[in-house]
Symmetry: C2
Subunit: 442 residues, 2 copies
Amino acid sequence: MSENKNIVNPSILSGFMELLPEDQIVFNKMKDTIRKTYESYGFIPLDTPVIEKSEVLLAKSGGDTEKQIYRFTKGENDLALRFDLTVPLARFVAQHYGELTFPFRRYHIGKAYRGERPQKGRFREFYQCDIDIVGNGSLSIINDAEIVSVIYSTFKNLGFEDFTIMINNRKLLNGLFRSLGTTNATEVMRTVDKIDKIGPDEVRKELIELGMDENAVEKLLAIIAMKGAPDSIIPELRKMGIDNDEFKTGVDELEKISECISSLGVDPKKFELNLKIARGLDYYTGTVYETFLNDYPQLGSVCSGGRYDELASNYTKQSLPGVGISIGLSRLFYQLREIGLVGKTGHATTTDLLFIPIGDTLNYTLSAAALARSEGINTEVYMNEGKLGKKFTYANNLGIPFVAAVGETEVQEGTLTVKDMRTGEQETVKKESLAEYINAKK
Amino acid sequence: MSENKNIVNPSILSGFMELLPEDQIVFNKMKDTIRKTYESYGFIPLDTPVIEKSEVLLAKSGGDTEKQIYRFTKGENDLALRFDLTVPLARFVAQHYGELTFPFRRYHIGKAYRGERPQKGRFREFYQCDIDIVGNGSLSIINDAEIVSVIYSTFKNLGFEDFTIMINNRKLLNGLFRSLGTTNATEVMRTVDKIDKIGPDEVRKELIELGMDENAVEKLLAIIAMKGAPDSIIPELRKMGIDNDEFKTGVDELEKISECISSLGVDPKKFELNLKIARGLDYYTGTVYETFLNDYPQLGSVCSGGRYDELASNYTKQSLPGVGISIGLSRLFYQLREIGLVGKTGHATTTDLLFIPIGDTLNYTLSAAALARSEGINTEVYMNEGKLGKKFTYANNLGIPFVAAVGETEVQEGTLTVKDMRTGEQETVKKESLAEYINAKK
């Protein structure tokens, strides 16, 4: 190692997120909370390969996906990195159809890849936290209501107090478009979906360009401006006299979901219908979800998803309807850190207790540490040479809350002297009572 | 979705592992246990990008690595998927040197990629579970002892009873080779490392081909055959009169580690010196570790690692000595499943309790489920139409231990009737006492 060698500049690719310990710990805590919440609803873990066959991943796609995907060859294989967790789910369910129990409720927390143009808060490698409920042939609308409850519990458990889960229904929108004489519902949907970005005037212009007459456009803009509690919206929708079966089914579905909200334990104040929500993706066919932090609307939707009729039509002729949502955790974490809502904890470790052996006390210290660990205290022993001050600085820098310097006295008396680094208080306790003492104070 | 479309065969690439839920749950449990153990020793989480710059990942390498790596271009970038977690650690520590507190104790549990020839139990995408302790300029040998303790706790916590952690020391081996007149210690090390694969006769032959004389070879073979408790080995090594400083330092280091074993809470019966352990990788410079399941020696070492002098010499001139180990979890899981030690739990979900609403009891059921969840019970509600028998079959197929069918009587009386699916017993409890009841029985 002593020879002269070239030093390569240590760096990562632009557009990739890498966290220092203090942030990583917060990130992991959020990820753990999401996982635990998903599991509390009986979602089953899935972990698929990051690399798949290109022909499988790109069975349906085109446009941006194809441009952004990381695709390459290795030997004779044409490979690609997954760009979401939905396509791998579709492939998995089709592939293992006979081995799964339906409805198949799965969660998947993992990385996905898109070679997007680098921009603030957009990452080329990002964590998605997805749940989906996939039915075999049919899937009751009550599942769509449960999804609202999962979103609610997840954001509550993440520590958010002020957020709103908004839903809409694509059948309602499609039926509405048709009743207004639209022939190109897909294009109208895309245009409506842009309303927050481009504003109602621009939407009006584009809709007229799509061939809608002005009256119809005004009516449409009035309806999609509706938003609020189901009690106020649903009767109004029924009163409009829109004679389209798809529209009516959409309203019925919204009503059915709304009826379950309180029983599901969701605070009704955090739940709204919002008729302009369309979701860009064309595979949604019913309920669509978006979630907003009320104090930070600029973040956009922090949890979105919807109902689809056919999850896996590219891979199987089985009819597999489903409903699901996704949290883009890397992006959410980045945004929350930018606005100062997460981070700066002062803890760059999850260690609870640092032992510092002084003099010939190593063996006593090591066994005290083993004991503490066995009682659930994350424990380190400072193993290296150096001045005592430097060792306390180590604890300070990492934000370790308790430090026990171990000298001859402690060994003779079978005690430990613990300093609470937050208050400076110091107390001597019996070796056997240490865990109890720390657990009470931490 | 009703149009005729091409169906792409849903499949994954060969050499990639994908688990069905029953196995995935076991896999995740192992992963969680490893993580929790690593954290109990104060290791800090790190999560680096899977894709890095090729020039960084391949700063030092060649041979198999270069052939096996997944490398490709995207735009102007030359990219590669990481093939281990050590190179990214080295890059990270060099890049963030000024922002880290040393000794830097990190764990990293993540996927790595090698396009190896597919063979049984070898995967192209695999989980590594690594810990390393990286010092700034120096790192006490006591850290090497602690690593033994981490291996011990990890395998205990994974539920293994009969395993042996074996250590050796590269200084001891290097010194020994030199004292026996070897000029090419690296080649001799590689040859010794193969002894379990090719046998002592073949090793003898190769060592003679490398220019060692026959007496030296016999002496070497006798020494590397030594294995057992430190008490029996270390005095013998000292008596041999090998007058080489590196050899003596190696023996001292082994002795120092051995002295700490009991204090560290490690069962001395599970700890041995084994002088033939060399580890193929050339960057180890001191202690080397291997771990064997005594009933399944055919698995090879299930946890290996060692001490290195310079972690990041490709990226920085800072001296960063370290010591670490790695568990190849995908391979380990596969092997354990093959020999029947893990898997077949009968649980394809982590759900504790399934509610089945009968008749008009949905709202009561949903609120009972929300209550159960809030008390830590993983709870599902069967939301879909169908016969009661089919719903119980769902619970049976997934291995859900408790099922509560909810009828009008339960709603009127504020009770729940819970069936223990394992025993068939059924009991009616107050809605508020449900969580307590389940927790007591699960």
